[in-house]
Subunit: 322 residues, 2 copies
C-alpha cells in the first residue's frame, strides 16, 4: 500500500531545507538548497520543485505526497502569505502557500519558521506534555514561537511571537526592519558577528583578513581556543538574551524556554551567560521556576517536523470537515 | 424570591473597593475603604467584613451573598494566594482566598486585579467579542491582563501578564520589586509624579510646598492650566508607554490595547503621546492595525465587575460538577 507523506519545507535567510515526513513524525528523506536572493519567490519554488522531483523519484513506488507544510520567517498562517520579509529580497505581501500549491498541485499550509519549530518541539521534542513554553530560534535572525494553554499563540492577525523585533536597546543597532535596537541585531548569528567585530575594533585589534568569512561557528571556535574577544562576544550575547527572556517571562509565565539553532549549539558558552543574566533579571515570583533548555530536536530537522505537523493537522481538519 | 449576589472586592495599594454584583453584571451597591498598611492581611479583611455587614443590612430581605471574587495585585488564581506583593506591607505568600473564605463563610476566588479588569472588559465592556487584547491598568502601579484566543493568559504558575515589571530602562529607577527600570516606575500614577518632580528639579524650578500632595490628578490640572513641566511629564510617560506597548504587540499581536485607571482619564494628554510613540515603534506588519482605546467601563466598577465575573464563572463550574 502506498503510504502518505507531507513535503515539509523550511525557508531560511541562507538555506532552504526540505524533507518528506510521515504521520508519525519520521523523516524519510531530507536535504537542502541555497535560498538565493532572487526578488521573485517563484524562482526559489521552481528550484525546490526540481530538487523534490529528483529526491522523490526513488520513493514513488512506496509513498505519495499528500500536502505541503512550509515554515518561513514573517509568514502568516491565517493568510498563507509572507508579509514584508526582512531577510529576503521579496517585496510586500507574497502569497507563498498559494504559489507552492500551484507549483506542486498539492494543498499547502504556511507558518512562521519559529512557530513550526515550536510545534515540532511540542509534538516530537523536549516540550512534550508542556502547555506553556517559548521556543527561540537563533539563526540569521531571532524567531520565537509561543505556546500558551497548550496552543500556539497566533494573535489577532497571525503575527504573534516576533520577539526578535522587540526593541532591546533604544537607538541601538540598525535593523533590516527599519527600526533600531531590535533583539535579533544582538542575539543571532549575525548579531554575534557584529558584536565580535565591534570588540576587536574597540580593542584596537587587527580585523581578520576576510571579515565576510566570520560566522558564529568561527567565533565559537575562537572562543574555545582561548580568544578573549570571542569569549566576551558570547558573554555579551548571552547577557542580552537572558535579559530579554526575563522580560518575556513577565508576559506569558512559561514552564520552559527552549533555545534552538546554530548559536544554541555553543552550549555552555552561550547558556552560562544566558542563565546568569536571566535569573538576575527575573521578577521574584518567577525566580528558579523557569528552565532554559536546549531544543530536544536535531537542528536540521526540527523546523521540518514542525512544518510537517502543521500540515498533518490541517489535513486531519480538512478530512473531518468533508 | 431571594436573589444571589457575588461580593466583589478590589484591593489596591491605597483603596479597597467592594460591591454586590448580580449574575447579569449589575452592581447593586458599591463602596470603598482605605487599604491601610497593616502587615497583617486579616486586619484589612476584618474591616472589609464590617463594612460589608453594614452595607448589606438593608439588602438582606431581597438578596443573599453566594460567593466572593477578589482582585488584588500579585494575586495567584491557581493557589488563591498573594505572593511577595510589592505594594503592601504583607510578607511572603498570603493565602488570601482562604482568609476571605474563613472570615465570610463563603467560597472565595482570587485573581490579579488587572486580570479581573480584563475579564470585566471582555464580559461587560469595550472588549466584548474580542479574542485577543491587552488591558493595562495605570494605578499606583502598572498591571496588565492579557487575553489570547478568547482566554485570559494565566501561564504555567498563574503569574502571566506582569508587564509593569518588564525592565524598560536598564539601570533605571529603583522599583519596589528590588530591580531597576521597571515599566511601572515610569508609567503609573507614582511614575508620573517622579517624572514631574525630576523635570522641576532639572529645570531649577522651586518644588511645590508639600510635594506629598502631588498626584497624577494634580499634574493633569497643572498641564491643562499650561504648566510646561506637567505637560512634558505626560509626554514622557506616554512616550515610554507607547514604546513598551509596541514591544508587547510583538508578543501577542492583539486587536486592541485598553488603558484603564486614573492616568487613562487624562485622555488626549496621555493618549496622544502614547499613540505617536506606539505607531513609531511598531514593526511594519503591525502598523495601523492595533487600536489603543480607553476602557469601556467606569474606573470605579470595572475591577469589581471583573472580580465578580471570575466568581460567577467559578460558581457555575462548581455547581455543574455536583
Amino acid at each position: 500500500m502506498i503510504k502518505p507523506l507531507i513535503l515539509a519545507v523550511d525557508i531560511g535567510g541562507t538555506k532552504t531545507a526540505f524533507g518528506f515526513v510521515s504521520e508519525e513524525g519520521k523523516i524519510i528523506h531530507h536535504d537542502h538548497i541555497d535560498t538565493g536572493q532572487s526578488a521573485d519567490p517563484s524562482e526559489l519554488i521552481g528550484r525546490i520543485n526540481q530538487a523534490v522531483e529528483e529526491a522523490f523519484e526513488s520513493l514513488r513506488k512506496e509513498y505519495s505526497l499528500v500536502g505541503i507544510g512550509i515554515g518561513a520567517p514573517d509568514a502568516n498562517y491565517f493568510n498563507g502569505t509572507v508579509d514584508f520579509a526582512v531577510n529576503f529580497k521579496w517585496k510586500g505581501v507574497i502569497p507563498l502557500a498559494k504559489l507552492f500549491s500551484e507549483s506542486f498541485h498539492l494543498p499547502a499550509v504556511l507558518t512562521n519558521d519559529a512557530n513550526a519549530a515550536a510545534l515540532g518541539e511540542m509534538y516530537f521534542g523536549a516540550a512534550k506534555g508542556m502547555k506553556d513554553f517559548i521556543l527561540i530560534t537563533l539563526g540569521t535572525g531571532l524567531g520565537s514561537g509561543i505556546v500558551a494553554n497548550g496552543k500556539l499563540l497566533y494573535g489577532h492577525t497571525g503575527f504573534a511571537g516576533e520577539l526578535g523585533h522587540t526593541i532591546i536597546i533604544q537607538h541601538g543597532r540598525m535593523c533590516k526592519c527599519g527600526r533600531k535596537g531590535c533583539l535579533e541585531q544582538y542575539c543571532s548569528s549575525t548579531g554575534i558577528v557584529k558584536t565580535y567585530l565591534e570588540i576587536l575594533k574597540n580593542d584596537g585589534k587587527e580585523l581578520p583578513e576576510n571579515i565576510y568569512d566570520i560566522d558564529s561557528r568561527y567565533i565559537y571556535e575562537k572562543a574555545m581556543g582561548g580568544d578573549p574577544a570571542a569569549f566576551y562576544a558570547f558573554n555579551y550575547t548571552g547577557e542580552l538574551l537572558g535579559f530579554a527572556l526575563a522580560n518575556a517571562v513577565a508576559f506569558s509565565d512559561p514552564e520552559a524556554i527552549f533555545l534552538f539553532g546554530g548559536l544554541a549549539q555553543a552550549e555552555e558558552l552561550l547558556f552560562n551567560p544566558v542563565n546568569i543574566s536571566f535569573e538576575k533579571n527575573l521578577l521574584e515570583i518567577y525566580k528558579n521556576k523557569v528552565k532554559i533548555l536546549p531544543s530536544g530536536l536535531a537542528a536540521s530537522t526540527a523546523a521540518l517536523l514542525g512544518a510537517a505537523s502543521v500540515a498533518w493537522d490541517e489535513r486531519k481538519k480538512t478530512i473531518s470537515d468533508v
